[in-house]
Amino acid sequence: MITKPPHFIIVDDDPINNFITKRLITKNYPNAEVVTFTQPEAGLQYVMSIFEKPDNGKAILLLDINMPIMTGWQFMEHLELVGSGVNNRLLIYILSSSVDPADKKRAKVNPQINDYIVKPLTAEALGSFAY
């Protein structure tokens, strides 16, 4: 049950995807707070700031892999430095159009990543989020 308005963070260099995803979320959760970033660095900064704030439930991070400058994996490396505390505050989902089995495997073995979702995000997938 949702007790608080869900909090979504979308990091993808494709603004169109972000638009589509945000729209899908707000349609399903009208009171959801959705933040989108096309620059992963900015997204990372935002995510990091969450850990500074008092515990206010878990946020959902939707992260793309193929991005210039900083890939989704590089993004994850920064989060791994934070350690186990990440899982207390974040539910991380990879949202990528890559069908490379290597990427899927990599996501699966990373304990911080909840699941790997192939674009586009569907309402069904959204409903399965474990927040």
Binding site: D14, I16, N17, F19, I20, T21, R23, L24, Q39, N66, P68, I69, M70, T71, Q74, S96, S97, S98, V99, D100, A102, V118, K119, P120, L121
Partner: protein, 1391 residues
């Protein structure tokens, strides 16, 4: 030598300090002082200042004398300690002296300080000297003991049977003779003895010859130089079984020196006795309780008593006890140990006389306290003194008459009237006439009562006075005056006036005092000084004073008033008068140490040596001119002589050690050091200047087998506290082995603990070796299998060995009584007398004869008689061998030969016999049958006839070899049959030796081996065939036996070895050991060799069936691989076959295949990756299109929103299109690769690229530097290379730094068959740490701010790889990027 004294003064009173300082300076003592006032300072000064003497106040506020003394006892017990005190109780002082305080000085008798300081220092020095000498003596004692032990060694051996006396080397020097002059008989020995002692010596010797009793005698001898020697001889007799003395053994020792020393002691005793008997002074020896033990004649005369009467009277019976000085003297002696003074003595008849006594406490040689008292009758001197006093009175009166100043007192006026002189003395104006009472005030307070008293007595009673007193002048000066007064009476006898003289006697007083002090000092000096002292006066040195010690020293009495040159005429020629003259004339002190002076002490014209430390000090008179000489002398003869004796004995020891090759050593446990004498270090082979060795090093020198033995001996010696001796070997650094005889004993300290060892050692190598040789010879002699006889020239048998006894059946004793004819019937006395001269001439004569045994049987013998001369004895030494056995054997041999012949005839082989030289002497019938030759033809050299011509030289060579080596003879050769055909025969011969080991005959056989030969040929043929097959194989083959020896190899094996640098197959040829080869290679680090070795062994041991290994074996020029198979060789022997096969071609082919496979996998992976990326990039817009389409279906969408979504949709479609176009481009690339290649000029490519983007180049002000001079072009696909150049150049421009002008550098170069292109710019660069993996990836971008698809570098890489090249990147953010492209396998087209 240090002359400045360090004096530590513990004193708090400044006034007293000044007094001490003044007194010391006055005494002419050269010193520095440190003054302390408390305990801390005192302790510190003892430690740091190191005083030579301590002066200490008895008691002062911060510290006190007894405490200071206790501290000194702990910290500096040797330092003299004098208490300087104003107040010291009698009891205290006695206590202190008892405890060991050196001396004490009362402050009111400060003048004694100098004397006491000097005396204390002298005593301290003497004490130190004495203890040093004692230590030295003690040390040397050890050496002396050894030296004496050695010096004693002169031994002799007197054989009574032949009156032969044998002397050891040393005896010749003891008796001052030599081997040439001295005939070694008892008679000539007796002649050496002084006539006076000869008879006695002879008698003693005779007695021992009769009884064998040991004896010790001493007798005198006279050397060639007329020097007398005393010899001490020890001897004893040796008896034979019958109890008859047959020889005398003994030692003789030169004990002259010892005798001399003994005599010297006796003499000195006698001298002392003489002194005692003849002294003019009375001498009493007393014990401390007052009993008198002895009195000398002078004492008897003085007291007019016999010695017994004196002894009975006791000390207190000789002294007038009413004399108050007695008590003082006794006290003084108790305090100081000596006393000196004048006393009144009692004669036997009760009359008294004035005597001077000096009494000294001493401890006699038995440790008992004794007092010696020297008493001199000085009544005459006293009388003289009295006379002097009278004279003085006379003088005084004369002085009175002179009346220096005068005064008078009119009693009625009670005023003094002074003469001018008196006024001047008072420093008052002339004419001053004070009241008597005022005049008294001029006197110093302590004198005022006295002057009042004497003046009053004079004025009232008329008693005259004459006083020396002190006054204080008006200016405050204190002066001594002599004042006398006399009453003047009027006619009525009433005293009306007192008058007198007044005289300044300050100077006189001062002189008097100085004189008093001087006199006191002199007195102390002369009498108390333990050295000889005296005073000479005048330029001709007349004795003015001399103390008893001096008189004793020079052995004279009654010298006062005599001239030195008269008293001691002997010293003039020794230059001492000259020294005295010089001291007198120059006024300079002369001192000398340990100077030798010859003094005629005995007054017999034979001066004796005395060593003196002495000082001649000029005595300065009142006129400041020398008027005499003070002399001080200390007799140090004893020290010097004992030191000289030590030196001498040390030298003697050294010499003795060198001569006897005896070294001595001393092991100190504390330092663990072995100190060696010269000879000791020579024995140990140490450098001449090394005399010390750590005990471990010592033990290391000892032969390892002998160490334990030595340590055991030493341990036993330690337990039993006795000396021990041991023989051992030492091994010198150069490996020489020496035999050493050592003796040692433990050394103990004063508490009885062993603190070291003393020992001697002697090189007994020669003796040991001789002993060994002798033992060996003796052993040989005793155990020789030959009988040995020693015979004299007159045929007497003098010695035989065991064998001789055994062979003849006699005992040794029996044989020694026989002569040659008794055992050899063929020798009689005549033949012997002819035989011996011949033997002398020929030295050796062999004889074969027969000997007669005790049981009467005769045995055949072979004799080798030798001539030997020992000294003047001629002997024949005969080695005799019983040859009965041999004779029998010879007979048996002849018999057996006949048997052999019979057998030979029946044998199927040819049998032959030749002489040692090869002359045939026998052939059997088979020879005749085969060759068809007659025996006569075949004898001698005839046997060689049927041999094949080609084989004859071989047969001869083999024959000669066999003869030379005395070895078996065996050849295979062809021998002609009677029918002219040749057949193969095996000819064998064995030499037959005679008993001398020489070849005597050859016996041989010839065996027909024709059949065998044929079979062999067959085999050989098949072997040749096999061999060629094996050699034709390319595999390298070797057969190795179980020991690892290579027994066979094929050509491929040896060719390979030769190719690999082996020149003569020394490592891997037949006969070399392959195990060793592998082992060595393994040790050198070739792991494979180890595996091969193990493989060979495993196969040999049947652990494994076979072994296979592939391994690289690269030569410098090429890469090679080999396969080694090891398999068990089929056959009887345990052999293995090693087969090396060259696998290089296969391995290289495999490598090639692997490379192609890797390449394919790599490409496949790239393609897969490409697929995923393409699919991702296709799917991304498709997903968007899908999502957007869904949104468009949402009815709630506003028009504006719809427009926006549609725009996004369009954009996504465009992107999808673009991806498909890219894909086309990429796919096109892969197709184009197959297009025709052409030479492409790099410069033209750059030009083309520049032109196509000219506006951009111009706008951005790009500079492109090219350097293609090394490689201007390459043969390739132009369109690709253009694309590569275009992409890299446009990338550089696209990612230039805005703040810097872009510079692109492109150059080409060649490395072997590769062409390298380098593109370098100074643009933004890429952070490779983050992105290296993705740089060349499709759709990878690294700069967000600049437009790009992420295609450029992907395309470049794809194209480079399509052209068969590789690309790499180096980049640094904000510095620039460098791409390096390498195309391999590019032939140089210029060539």
């Amino acid at each position: 030598m240090k002359t400045t004294l360090n004096i530590l003064i513990a004193e708090h009173d400044k006034h007293d300090l000044a007094m001490i300082d003044n007194e010391l300076k006055k005494g002419g003592i050269d010193f520095v002082s440190e003054i302390v006032q408390n305990e801390a300072g005192y302790r510190k000064a003892l430690k740091n200042f190191i005083p030579d003497i301590i002066l200490c106040d008895y008691r002062f506020p911060s510290f006190d004398g007894p405490t200071a003394f206790k501290i000194r006892e702990q910290l500096a017990p040797e330092t003299p300690f004098i208490i300087v005190s104003g107040t010291i109780g009698e009891e205290n002082s006695i206590e202190l002296i008892k405890n060991g305080v050196t001396d004490f000085v009362l402050k009111d008798k400060m003048f004694a300080l100098n004397i006491k300081v000097k005396r204390a220092l002298y005593e301290a020095k003497e004490k130190k000297e004495k203890s040093r000498t004692e230590i030295e003596l003690k040390q040397t004692a050890t050496h002396l003991t050894e030296a004496q032990k050695l010096a004693k060694l002169g031994s002799w051996d007197y054989d009574l049977a032949d009156n032969k006396l044998t002397w050891s080397e040393q005896l010749y020097s003891v008796f001052d003779t030599d081997k040439q002059t001295f005939t070694e008989t008892h008679g000539s020995f007796l002649q050496l003895i002084d006539e006076a002692d000869r008879e006695y010596a002879q008698k003693t010797s005779k007695h021992t010859q009769d009884t064998g009793d040991a004896f010790i005698i001493e007798y005198g001898i006279t050397t060639h130089k007329g020097e007398k020697r005393v010899i001490q001889e020890h001897g004893y007799g040796v008896k034979d079984a019958t109890g008859k003395v047959i020889r005398l053994f003994g030692t003789a020792q030169d004990i002259t020196e010892r005798k001399k020393a003994e005599n010297a002691v006796k003499e000195s005793e006698a001298r002392y006795r003489a002194f005692f008997e003849n002294s003019m002074d009375g001498i009493l020896l007393t014990v401390t309780d007052g009993n008198i033990l002895a009195a000398n004649p002078a004492a008897c005369k003085i007291f007019n008593m016999t010695e017994q009467e004196i002894c009975d009277a006791g000390r207190f019976g000789l002294v007038d006890l009413t004399d108050p000085r007695v008590e003082n003297l006794i006290k003084e002696r108790q305090l100081t140990g000596k006393a000196q003074g004048e006393l009144t003595f009692l004669r036997k008849d009760g009359t008294t006389f004035a005597g001077e006594i000096s009494s000294v406490l001493f401890t006699d040689s038995f440790g008992q306290e004794r007092t010696s008292m020297i008493i001199r009758d000085i009544s005459e001197r006293k009388e003289a003194e009295e006379k002097l006093k009278d004279n003085y009175t006379l003088l005084r009166i004369t002085g009175e008459i002179a009346k220096i100043g005068g005064w008078y007192v009119k009693l009625e006026e009670n005023r003094v009237y002074w003469s001018d002189e008196v006024a001047t003395l008072h420093e008052m104006p002339p004419g001053y006439a004070p009241l008597v009472e005022d005049a008294f005030e001029f006197y110093v307070p302590e004198w005022r009562d006295k002057i009042r008293e004497v003046f009053t007595n004079c004025a009232q009673k008329g008693i005259s006075y004459d006083e020396d007193m002190e006054i204080i002048t008006s200016s405050g000066k204190r002066i001594w005056v002599r004042t006398n007064g006399e009453a003047v009476r009027d006619q009525n006898g009433k005293i009306v006036k007192v008058h007198g003289t007044f005289q300044d006697i300050t100077e006189k007083k001062r002189l008097e005092k100085a004189f008093e002090v001087e006199r006191q000092q002199f007195f102390d000096l002369i009498s108390e000084a333990p050295s000889s002292m005296g005073v000479l006066s005048g330029p001709d040195h007349r004795f003015k004073m001399a103390n008893p010690l001096y008189l004793q020293l020079i052995g004279k009495t009654d010298i006062i008033g005599k001239l030195v040159k008269d008293v001691l005429p002997e010293i003039a020629e020794q230059g001492f008068i000259d020294i005295l003259d010089s001291v007198y004339q120059t006024g300079k002190t002369y001192s000398a140490n340990e100077m030798l002076i010859k003094l005629d002490v005995e007054n017999n014209g034979n001066p004796v040596d005395r060593y003196l430390n002495f000082i001649y000090q000029p005595h300065i008179g009142t006129n400041e001119k020398t008027n005499g000489i003070l002399f001080f002398a200390v007799d140090v003869s004893e020290q010097v002589l004992s030191r000289k004796k030590i030196e001498e004995s040390e030298a003697k020891l050294k010499e003795a050690q060198t001569i006897a090759q005896i070294g001595s050593w001393e092991l100190d446990f504390e330092s663990n050091t072995l100190t060696l004498s010269d000879e000791g270090s020579r024995l140990f082979g140490l450098p001449a200047d090394q005399h010390e060795l750590l005990s471990e090093d010592w033990m290391n020198l000892v032969h390892p087998d002998d160490r334990e033995g030595i340590l055991n001996k030493i341990e036993k010696s330690r337990e039993s506290l006795s000396a021990t001796s041991y023989d051992h070997r030492i091994v010198l650094n150069n490996g020489t082995i020496k035999y050493i005889h050592s003796e040692s004993k433990f050394r103990f300290d004063s508490e009885g603990n062993s603190n070291g060892m003393n020992g001697t050692m002697q090189d007994v190598t020669v003796r040991k070796q001789t002993e060994e040789k002798l033992e060996l010879t003796q052993f040989t002699f005793d155990h020789a299998s030959d009988a040995i006889f020693w015979m004299t020239s007159d045929a007497r048998i003098v010695d035989v060995n065991e064998s001789a006894c055994h062979s003849l059946g006699y005992t040794r004793q029996e044989l020694l009584r026989l002569s040659v004819p008794d055992i050899d019937p063929y020798f009689n006395v005549e033949t012997w007398s002819g035989f011996f001269p011949e033997l002398r001439k020929k030295l050796t004569i062999p004889i074969e004869t027969k000997h007669l045994r005790k049981d009467g049987s005769l045995i055949p013998v072979e004799i080798r008689a030798n001539y030997i001369k020992f000294g003047n004895r001629e002997l024949s030494c005969a080695f005799v061998r019983d040859i009965s056995e041999r004779k029998l054997t010879e007979a048996a041999l002849i018999e057996s030969e006949q048997e052999v012949r019979a057998i030979a005839e029946s044998m199927p082989q040819i049998v032959w016999v030749t002489t040692a030289e090869g002359k045939n002497i026998y052939l059997n019938q088979q020879w005749v049958d085969y060759t068809g030759l007659s025996l006569v033809e075949s004898y001698d050299d005839g046997w060689l006839i049927p041999f094949h011509e080609d084989d004859k030289p071989i047969a001869w060579e083999a024959w000669n070899n066999a003869v030379a080596n005395q070895a078996e003879y065996s050849i295979e050769c062809r021998i002609k049959r009677y029918d002219g055909t040749y057949h193969w025969w095996l000819v064998r011969g064995v030499p037959k030796m005679n008993e001398k080991g020489e070849i005597f005959k050859w016996y041989g056989t010839c065996t027909n081996i024709e059949k065998i030969k044929q079979a062999e040929n067959q085999i050989r043929k098949s072997e040749v065939f096999n061999r060629s097959v094996v050699n034709s194989l390319s595999a390298h083959l070797a057969v190795v036996n179980e020991k690892g020896d290579i027994v066979s190899i094929n050509e491929a094996w040896s060719n390979f070895a030769l190719q690999n640098g082996e020149t003569s197959m020394e490592r891997t040829g037949v006969g070399s050991n392959y195990f060793e080869v592998c082992e060595k290679a393994f040790i050198d680090g070739e792991e494979i060799a180890g595996r091969v070795l193990q493989g060979m062994k495993n196969v040999l041991n049947k652990k494994i069936e076979d072994f296979y290994l592939e391994y690289p074996c690269h030569s410098p020029s090429e890469q090679r691989w080999f396969g080694l198979r090891i398999a068990k060789f089929e056959g009887d022997e345990p052999l293995i076959l090693l087969a090396h096969t060259n696998l290089t071609d296969r391995i290289l082919a495999e490598g090639e295949r692997q490379k192609i496979t890797d390449d394919l996998i790599h490409r496949n992976r790239d393609l897969e990756q490409f697929t995923y990326i393409v699919s991702h990039n296709l799917r991304a817009p498709v997903a968007n299109i899908k999502g957007l389409s869904d949104i468009l279906g949402d009815e709630s969408l506003s028009i504006a929103e719809t427009g926006s979504v549609v725009n996004d949709l369009l954009s996504s479609v465009t992107k999808l299109d673009s991806v498909i176009l890219d894909l086309n481009d990429i796919l096109q690339l892969k197709i184009d690769v197959n297009k025709a290649k052409e030479p492409v000029v790099f410069e033209e490519l750059v030009k083309g690229v520049k032109e196509s983007i000219l506006s951009l180049v111009l706008r951005e002000k790009v500079t492109i530097k090219t350097r293609f001079d090394k490689v201007p072009e390459m043969f390739t696909l132009k369109s690709y290379l253009y694309s590569i150049f275009y992409n890299l150049i446009s990338n550089s421009i696209k990612y230039k730094r805005p703040d810097a002008q872009l510079l692109i550098e492109i150059k080409s170069s060649r490395k072997e068959d590769a062409i390298e292109l380098v593109f370098k710019d100074n643009g933004k660069g890429i952070d490779l740490n983050k992105s290296r993996a993705h740089v060349f990836g499709l759709y990878k971008r690294f700069h967000r701010d600049i437009e790009g698809k992420g295609m450029g570098l992907f395309m470049v890489k794809t194209q480079v790889e399509a052209l068969g090249g590789t690309i790499s990147i180096e980049s640094e953010v904000n510095k620039g990027t460098t791409f390096k492209i390498i195309f391999r396998n590019q032939k140089n087209h210029d060539n």
